[in-house]
């Protein structure tokens, strides 16, 4: 079967291509989407006239556009490059669409494209888009099939779309069975190639106060937390990320070589809090935990400075079971007193002379570390202001901040404070992470957003160990008490908007939990209520087979619903009645009319004669009388027929049978 395409079928195929590519296009550079759209229009314009592009034009064109697509990703081959290449090929295939076989392969790869969009992005909107693409692909397929069958009169567009959508709706039960129970791979079969272009917000292993961060604009969630024990106050929610202890005069950075030994000793002063954190993908390795984590989940290691770090890059939503002590004593004695003290008071030469001078002066006046901390905080609270739009800072960034501008946000305060402390001889370091959270009453969980990103300091005090000092809290207490939003005064206006936002956030959390976070481990848990512990692939396979069977049955029932040939309920009830009579010894012969049989049965079962006669008469009247019986009477009759009971007759074996 390979017939030429007609106009309607061509248009269906042409329409299926952008529909299938739409999810992928969201992740492509806009100009490339524009180029492809232009080519698509050209192909449609040619195609509706029944023309195809000559090979001599098509081949160079294909190569050129493919090169363009690969070039758009800087000639690096990753998933996104492959996707763009596939999109290019699909659009250009339209130029040579002539026969139904071409159309079928085009549609097959279009389906593939709709699916491969998920390698780049995994949102629920994308799933809807891909489902819509699938509906278009199936509609086009049905058009191609009709064309092959030579049906001249094409079906109306709406009916075709409805047919394809109906097909998808019908397939939901079976698809659900497959999704939840198809055995997952615990480890990938082949390496997972990375993406060529990374563009995710999140914390870095580096911090340069003075370069304006875009994080404050980004309202997307960074993690969602469900507490299993008491919930700490909002102002105590410090989510610990990378600890930065190396300062080069301008930027703070992690010191990986210092982080590889045992974690600093921790002495919790209260019961640790238990919670589950679902962290959005960052493409980096840090794992956020409430300050300070005491436990280490699987696949994660604890750094020396007690920040958590995953062994693999976090390129998907991950859920961690964590425990943290909010009241603690961290490293009451420095493990390597000399080395550590030297490291945590180290400052580069030639930067921030004014700050160093100020620190020296303070130290001369009162050398107690606690007093230095208090003095610095008091100064900050008195003379500094919080702003989200600070000025850029020059070479002596801390000097400029402390003595000239005196306005900035958390990074500036943390950095300046830490430098000041170090200069005064107090060991200090910077902790980056998030502060605060937003309670979603709908899901009962806390959402920490990218805009909650924060940086604070830790100073080491004799006898108390590493102590958190958040200079921002002194300058802008509202930032810590109520979050960043409170600072731009938009909270009142967004009050009406809150329920919608809560619902959307809750939906995203469900999506993360049910769809994205469903892995081999969760799959095993799924069978636990059924008494299968630690399900292996065999029991999973069995469960999958059973569920698939169930799904099949549901699909079948949906398809067959209301089919002709179904026995009317009254006939079914009558048959049941006959079966009961037969068991009691009065079997109806096939040729016997109901009333004649009733007489015979009444004679055989004299004690039930009246009932048998009445029921049979009712049935005969429904079946054969010219006036139809009303629905209520029918139901009543059926009920009585079904309720009819006679004791089973004992069948006595009379001997003599061979």
């Amino acid at each position: 079967m390979n017939t030429s395409l007609d106009r309607a079928t061509f248009l269906w195929c042409a329409a299926a291509v952008p529909a299938a590519l739409a999810p992928m296009a969201m992740a492509m550079p806009p100009w490339l989407v524009g180029v492809l759209a232009a080519f698509w229009l050209g192909a449609v314009a040619l195609g509706v006239r029944g023309r195809v592009l000559h090979m001599a034009v098509r081949l160079p064109l294909t190569l050129a556009v493919a090169a363009l697509a690969v070039g758009a990703y800087g000639f690096r081959f990753g998933r996104d490059t492959g996707g763009a290449l596939l999109a290019t090929m699909l659009v250009l295939k339209l130029f040579e669409l002539r026969r139904t076989r071409d159309a079928r392969s085009l549609l097959g790869f279009a389906l593939f494209a709709a699916m491969s969009a998920f390698l780049l992005e995994q949102g629920p909107a994308l799933l809807l888009g891909a489902a819509a693409g699938m509906v278009m692909v199936f509609s086009a397929l049905s058009s191609v099939t009709d064309r092959e069958a030579g049906i001249a009169r094409p079906r109306p567009v709406r009916r075709r779309l409805a047919g394809a959508a109906g097909l998808l709706a019908l397939s939901l039960p079976l698809a659900a069975a497959g999704f939840f129970l198809f055995p997952r791979l615990a480890s990938p079969l082949w390496g997972v190639p990375g993406k060529a272009a990374e563009a995710r917000t999140g914390l870095n292993d580096e911090m340069t106060p003075g370069d304006i961060s875009a994080m404050y604009i980004d309202d997307s969630p960074a993690l969602r937390v469900t507490f299993h024990s008491t919930v700490p106050p909002r102002s105590a929610m410090y989510w610990r990320g990378p600890v930065l202890s190396g300062f080069d005069g301008r930027s703070w950075g992690r010191q990986p070589y210092r982080e590889s030994t045992d974690p600093e000793p921790l002495q919790p002063l209260a019961d640790p809090l238990r919670y589950t954190s679902m962290q959005e993908p960052t493409d980096r390795r840090y794992v956020l935990a409430l300050d300070v984590p005491v436990s280490v989940p699987e696949g994660v290691e604890m750094q020396r400075s007690r920040s958590l770090r995953s062994r693999r890059r976090l390129d998907e939503v991950r859920s961690f079971e964590l425990a943290s002590a909010t009241d603690y004593r961290l490293s009451a004695r420095l493990p390597y007193p000399r080395m550590d003290r030297a490291h945590y008071t180290d400052l580069p030469d030639g930067f921030n002379p004014r700050t160093l001078a100020l620190a020296r002066q303070w130290r001369a006046e009162d050398a107690r570390p606690e007093a230095l901390v208090q003095r610095a905080l008091a100064w900050f609270g008195r003379e500094f202001t919080y702003t989200l739009e600070p000025q850029l800072l020059g070479r002596h960034s801390v000097d400029e901040f402390l003595f000239d501008q005196r306005a900035g946000y958390c990074e500036h305060f943390a950095s300046a404070f830490t430098v000041l402390m170090r200069a005064a001889g107090v060991p200090a370091r910077i902790v980056t992470g998030y502060q605060g959270g937003y309670f979603n009453p709908l899901g009962g969980h806390w959402v920490v957003r990218q805009s909650d990103a924060h940086a604070w300091s830790e100073v080491w005090l004799e006898g108390r160990g590493w102590t958190r000092v958040d200079p921002t809290a002194v300058v802008a207490p509202a930032r810590i008490e109520q979050g960043v939003e409170s600072l731009d005064g938009g909270s009142a206006a967004s009050a009406w908007w809150a329920p919608v936002r809560n619902a959307a956030d809750w939906g995203m959390r469900m999506w993360n939990e049910v769809v994205l976070g469903f892995d081999a481990a969760r799959q095993q848990q799924l069978l636990r209520p059924l008494g299968v512990d630690g399900a292996d692939w065999r029991s999973l396979g069995l469960a999958f087979a059973l569920a698939a069977l169930l799904g099949l049955l549901v699909t079948l029932a949906l398809v067959l619903r209301g089919e002709p040939g179904r026995v009317p309920p009254l006939v079914a009830a009558y048959r049941r009645f006959l079966a009961r009579l037969a068991r009691a010894g009065a079997g109806k012969l096939p040729h016997e009319p109901p009333l004649a049989f009733a007489e015979r049965a009444a004679a055989l079962l004299p004690e039930r004669a009246g009932e048998v006669r009445a029921l049979s008469e009712g049935f005969a009247r429904w079946r054969y009388a010219p006036q139809p019986m009303d629905a209520a009477a029918q139901r009543e009759l059926a009920r009585r027929l079904r309720a009819f009971r006679v004791p089973r007759r004992r069948i006595r074996r009379t001997g003599g049978s061979a």
Partner: protein, 332 residues
């Protein structure tokens, strides 16, 4: 041409396999017995296999499934399962397209051997679902139709005829690729119906043997060409006989019937043609029968086993052609 040979070998092998299957597994193939009309397609006789595009799609979805599993990409997995089960649902749809379809009639107007015969199949769609893209194939000829619920669909297949006599309608494949073309759902139908093929009149036959006047009467050619009466159209009536004006007025197709001119009688005697081979004899008699009818003569057909006439008119001609068609071959 090795390719050609390969194809021939494949066709032969396929035929042999089918024949073997038919012999060994009649219950499975249901190819064998012919059955009375109406034939209802039910689940016991409907078969399903993926088509080539279906296999291609299946392979594609399997590849996607593997990829999604490897990347542990749940939305992609979900879409894979959705695609796979949509394919399965399309199978059910295809199956339901055929199930419950009734073949109620097979008709054909008789033709002369060697002429293509048009077989007219009437299908009843039943009152629930539309039957979309149902195809009928017999040999290499295929025709497709679509019927809305409650409709009757009339489909014609053209069949080549080679010899006179009964032509069994034979085994017909009713199949569909509806709705997506991923599966081929088919059923074999073998209606207990045969159609008559008349002998082909001899092309250059000797002239009509006149003179055997069986009764009085002179040829009055042309005089009887007056329309005698009108009657309703029946299958097989030549279009030139349709009285278009009257038909337009009444809304039914009307056909003119001519008065048979009485020109004389012709004796079409089997024994008079002794020495001529049987088939040729039959063809010659058929030719003469038609010639006599055209010239308005009454004819008397005398063949072994029957004697028809003397009479004229289309009923007589058809009766005679039928007798001729069914004469045993090879005798004499």
């Amino acid at each position: 041409m090795p390719r050609q040979q390969l194809r021939t070998a494949w066709t032969a092998l396929r035929r042999r396999l089918l024949a073997a299957a038919e012999r060994r597994l009649p219950a499975l193939t249901r190819l064998r017995a012919s059955e009375p009309l109406p034939v209802v397609l039910d689940r016991r006789r409907i078969y399903v296999l993926p088509s080539a595009p279906g296999l291609f799609f299946g392979a594609l979805v399997a590849a996607m499934l593997l990829g999604a599993l490897n990347y542990n990409n749940n939305p992609a997995l979900m879409l894979c399962f959705l695609a796979a089960s949509a394919m399965h649902a399309s199978l059910l749809r295809g199956y339901l397209t055929l199930r419950g379809l009734r073949l109620t009639q097979v008709q054909a107007a008789p033709v002369y051997a060697g002429e293509p015969m048009t077989l007219r199949f009437t299908f009843e769609a039943g009152d629930r679902r539309p039957r979309e893209g149902v195809c009928l194939s017999r040999g290499s000829d295929t025709v497709c139709f679509t019927a809305a619920p409650g409709e009757l669909a009339e489909v014609t297949l053209v069949v080549a005829t080679e010899r006179r006599g009964w032509l069994p309608v034979g085994r017909i494949c009713v199949y569909t690729r509806n709705p997506l073309g991923l599966f081929r759902v088919w059923s074999w139908v073998h209606p207990q119906r045969r159609v008559l093929v008349y002998p082909m009149p001899e092309a250059n036959a000797p002239p009509l043997p006149r003179g055997a006047d069986l009764g009085a009467g002179r040829m009055r050619r042309g005089a009887g060409e007056e329309p005698h009466s009108l009657r309703g159209y029946r299958h097989g009536d030549p279009l030139r006989l349709v009285a278009w004006k009257r038909s337009a007025r009444t809304g039914h197709l009307m056909v003119r019937e001519f008065e048979t001119p009485r020109g004389g009688d012709v004796l079409l005697d089997w024994d008079a043609l002794a020495g001529v081979p049987t088939e040729l004899r039959i063809r010659r008699l058929a030719r003469w029968l038609l010639d006599a009818e055209r010239e308005g003569l009454r004819s008397l057909l005398n063949v072994p086993g029957s004697r028809l006439g003397p009479a004229s008119g289309s009923d007589h001609v058809h009766a005679c052609l039928r007798v001729l068609a069914l004469l045993p071959g090879g005798a004499g």
